[in-house]
């Protein structure tokens, strides 16, 4: 009954709208791959100069060579460290703490793999928010790490609750060996942005309990909530004084697959590794040594952290593209949230960042019993797909295994596509409710 399937279950902006792609880094890569373009005057001079500079940092002057180091191209590590230092108002970052990889997920895999050990009560546990990014439960399962859930507070806009952290940790002890806490800030899929006070408390908690902090911060450049700003865990940690700054083990993750630099298909990311035991740090680098990170995504990362500045010919285009993405994202999120909250049986917390909305379904118990069953979120999504051709994510993928059913949708799509998604969703939803008056 529909012309085409629209998939808004994952956060892939380019798949939904090619125009969202910032052209800068793709142009740079094109020149690096085909250096004849260095002479192509239709390309902005700063793009060509950047490509030339980057080619000079590659082995043999070619993107076809392996990275000089298994942690990445030194020039890119340096650019990223400088970016972090600027971002964190001078809290310094060091190139040797930056490890490049083919995506932040891949970087996280390395770390989880390294931490995984034991069995039953000795198995490594990682405190993990519920809801969490939808690829995380599978990743932990594959790597043999136990997911220790801590519930975010939905009514408080999906905030972290310190008491809940203590409860989760105490409940887990004896059943596994909790060794780390995973944070997603800005939150995937919640769109929540943590304030400084919360971050300080989480850091204190990690310090007191001897947990490694794994901070996924890939939506740091996509905060649009009023009066909200992204503050990195690294910055807060270093501003809490020596006792914390020199002690707490922190690994933070960033990626080119975020909202405003949505080059998902290229698969590039990095982690910054702080205060890790030197032997562990060395082993982590050795794990990477068997397979050095791909070169092109590293060059894309360089373009992401070193944006054109006013005066560069490409600055205007690039700034427009970013602004366009940010505006679309913010307006879409607001529009979809209002729309969903206007439907009976759906309650959506407003998002402040990132690309997802994560509304809750309040379905009649009779409907759950008679039609949808215990996996009501999965069946809801499945029927929506079959009947209306819209693919959403089911909350259980985000680690939600209680009976608070949620759905996940990416709002980084052209507004017309979003309207189509919302219209089809309403039609399906009302039709479903209609059968249980």
């Amino acid at each position: 009954p529909f012309k085409e399937v629209i998939d808004v279950s994952s956060g892939d902006p380019t798949g939904l709208s090619p125009s969202v792609i910032p052209c800068l880094s793709f142009q740079v890569l094109a020149v690096c791959l085909y250096p004849e373009l260095l002479k192509e005057e239709s390309l902005p001079l700063d793009v060509r100069r950047r490509a030339q500079r980057l080619l000079g940092t590659c082995g043999g002057g070619s993107v076809g060579s392996y990275s000089a180091s298994s942690c990445g191209i030194p020039h890119v590590q340096k650019s990223i460290a400088e970016f972090i230092t600027r971002r964190d108002d001078g809290v310094s970052s060091h190139p040797e703490d930056i490890i490049l990889s083919s995506g932040s997920q891949r970087a996280l895999s390395l770390v989880l793999h390294l931490m995984a050990s034991g069995d039953e009560e000795t198995q490594t546990g990682v405190l993990t928010p519920v809801p969490c990014p939808h690829t995380l439960p599978t990743l932990m399962d594959v790597l043999g790490v136990k997911l220790v859930p801590y519930q975010l507070t939905e009514e408080g806009g999906w905030a972290v609750d310190l008491e809940e952290l203590h409860r989760a940790l105490n409940a887990a002890r004896g059943h596994c060996e909790p060794r780390a806490i995973y944070i997603s800030n800005p939150g995937n899929p919640t769109g929540q942005v943590q304030d400084r006070k919360t971050i300080e408390k989480v850091i204190q908690f990690a310090a007191t309990e001897g947990l490694v902090l794994l901070a996924e911060e890939v939506y740091q450049d996509s905060v649009y909530g009023q009066d909200k700003e992204f503050i990195s865990y690294k910055k807060v940690l270093f501003e809490m004084g020596q006792m914390y700054a020199e002690k707490v083990e922190l690994i933070s993750f960033h990626s080119i697959s975020s909202a405003c630099t949505g080059e998902c298909g290229l698969r590039g990311g990095y982690m910054e590794v702080i205060n890790l035991d030197p032997a562990v740090n060395k082993y982590l680098r050795n794990m990477q040594a068997t397979s050095s990170p791909p070169v092109l995504p590293q060059l894309t990362l360089e373009a992401m952290v070193n944006r054109p500045t006013p005066g560069d010919l490409s600055h205007k285009t690039y700034a427009q593209e970013i602004l366009h993405t940010q505006t679309t994202l913010s307006q879409n999120a607001q529009r979809a949230c209002d729309f969903l909250n206007g439907l009976p049986g759906i309650k959506c917390q407003p998002a402040m960042a990132g690309v997802f909305l994560y509304p809750r379904l309040h379905l009649p118990p009779q409907m759950i019993e008679e039609i949808l069953g215990v996996e009501a979120d999965v069946l809801y999504c499945q029927r929506l797909l079959e009947e209306e051709g819209v693919c959403l994510g089911a909350g259980c993928e985000n680690g939600q295994d209680d009976q608070n059913y949620h759905i996940r949708l990416c709002v980084l799509a052209p507004p017309a596509t979003l309207e189509e998604v919302l219209a089809r969703l309403r039609s399906f939803h009302l039709h479903l409710l209609h059968r249980f008056p």
Copy 2:
């Protein structure tokens, strides 16, 4: 005492010589990244058409999107399956058996990770040739798999010896649980090319002993030994009759980082998975699901397996580039082997394929005792680097832990660079020997 360090320890042709890069796939990628180039008439029409076709297979028509499937872009899987079918003279390959990944090493990691289990006598063991590819011992160690060594026969040009396979397996049983046999054909770093009879025997051995066959075949397009040809394990397996073809579990690996398509920095590869238990197969795909393979290397793979044909405008250039690489490789290997065999205390088996030579050092026992110590190969390489600025690989990295000392050098370099390497090596070697007359 030297102007620059020359690193010939790894098989990265582009790092040594940018001119070795076949331009075709890089041009295609450049157009995919910067579609304005579709109108660029200085690029061959078939290159632009190919780029347009490939863009059409990407989500949203952009290389910025994630792969449609976590196993890869369906069009690329199909192209690879067709390539394999042609290569194997009609033995059919199926797109759904092809899993793309960021490099053959990464694909192998997934498989080894999947197979890893147990501890002490229950730990998964993998029969592994000595010498083996130099990244393999670390990879197995990191993934918790026990390396069960079987010695290749150096005097027979590094051939596989069936009796040795039985010996190795019997010796391992009781100490670990051997579950697979790893094959490198054409051999890395030996340059040996297995004949059909050997392959049949290895398959029979794997079948009888219930071992999974892991066939690394990344140098399949770089065979230059006279009367030698690459025959795939897949082809032989399917020609041995139903009893084998439907039973033996085979996973074969290929990569864009091989000799003639040396796009190492892009990190792309695939595996073909045959006869795996459906549940295991499903789990393998799930492991990949958390992080889909990068798009650009997949497009490079497509260009590798679908070369321009006569009639395509780019055919001539591309064929010339390939021929140039193959000729350089073959001549270099011959030249370096003769040169090394002309030095006292070095004995080198001729290579038939791939990019490495792997000569043996016959050093005076007194030199080993007094200067080099038990890690004579490591110290030999270290001193060569310090004194002459040439970086070779030490045989111990290839799993050689006996006292037959070897060194490893990549011969895919411009002939002038190779001459420089050989001259410096001779100077160092003779100087060293001179001190122990």
